[in-house]
Amino acid sequence: MCSVTVAEHNIQLEIHTHRKMFTILAAEGNVITQLTEKFGISWPLFIAQVVNFIIVLFVLKKFAFGPIQAMLEQRKNRISEGEEKLKRIETQLAESEERTAAAIEEANSTAKRLIDEAKESAASLSEQKTQEAIASAQGILSKAEEAAKAERTQMVAELKQDFGRLVAATTASVTGKVLNDDDNKRINDEAVASIEG
């Protein structure tokens, strides 16, 4: 009897618990209904607003953010490309400046070398020419001396002959004797000897 009562009590308790849960759930359902009614939430209005919102987002994505972001991206790319180009140009400029400086330096050294060589060459040429001129002058001088000497010798010889002839002629006219070749020779030799003596 007692166990039956306990079992019945348990069943009743369980039924009561279930009823209570259903009541709570029903109350919750009521609360939700009350809330939706109070705040004016209804499926048609909600769906209409969902559609509105989706359309706005789509239009914004298509006509606002799309083109603007594409333009921003394009500008960003162009700026980064410009920056890269600038860097490349700066590098090229630096390289070009380096090359120019090297070329100028090389040209300077070449020019210096050429000038030195020209100077050396000019000095050497000048020396050579001087020497040649000196040699030439000396040659001319010696030739002139030789010529003068030869002329003098010739003149002396001619003078001796003329003097001998003159002495022979004078002797022949003074003595009235026809002189033969031996006489002429002897008189000439004596005359020349007297001049040289």
Binding site: A48, L57, L60, A64, M71
Partner: protein
Amino acid sequence: MAGHGPSADVLIGDKDSFAITNSMVMVWIAALLIILFCRAATKKMSMVPAGFQNFAEWLVESLYNFFGGILGDHLVKRTFWFFGGTFMLILLVNYLGLVPGVGSIVAYDSHGHYHPVLRGGNADLNMTAAMSVIFAILWFYWAFTENGVKGFFSHIFAPKGDFSGAMKVGMIIIFFLVGLLEIISIFIRPVALSFRLFGNVFGGEVTLDKLMHLVPYDWMRFLPALPFMFMELLVGFIQALVFTLLSAVFLKLICEHDDHGDEEHAH
């Protein structure tokens, strides 16, 4: 008597089938303004921006950088259209709600009830719920595509840290329970997002409405509400920011990989 209740007023149609409400019209006006602005800004785009294009580029770039700071380069590329668009729409709808005439120009129906012809778009829970639900759907989509299904669930349920033996078993149980809480939290977040935005905007409208009726003369009704108009300007901006910022943070947290950032996993 209708007026400033929490539900939007139906202008055309039936609330239970098809209807156009005053807050819906405001959203359309805001959308139209945004579309016109975008068309004007992107009509003749040039590499050297000027006028509308300049302003639009500044706006988009600022928002992109802002959300990029939260989400990172990869995620912001995928999701900016949502966050940027949502921010702009919420902001404009909030500000349009402050334009004189919105909420105060009313029409009377056949029962003698008056209804505002226009109403702040975000003072309608249908609108804020629509935004939150769409965010929630995209949120899951992005989370699954970023981490995969396995990664998504292991991110929520898998124990963090290096444990062994009994401690490991304990941690598995604890993290499973924490994961359950996390799942509840994930489902509550969109609800919180929608109610937060709705509550702030609706509260602001009610405040302005009540303040205007504090004075006895019609010609000086603007006076008590004037300081609060400035506050509402701030609130409009902050609420747009809070909605999108929190959404972005939620997305970032759920997309984080387990190899970095577990410590920050504080929801």
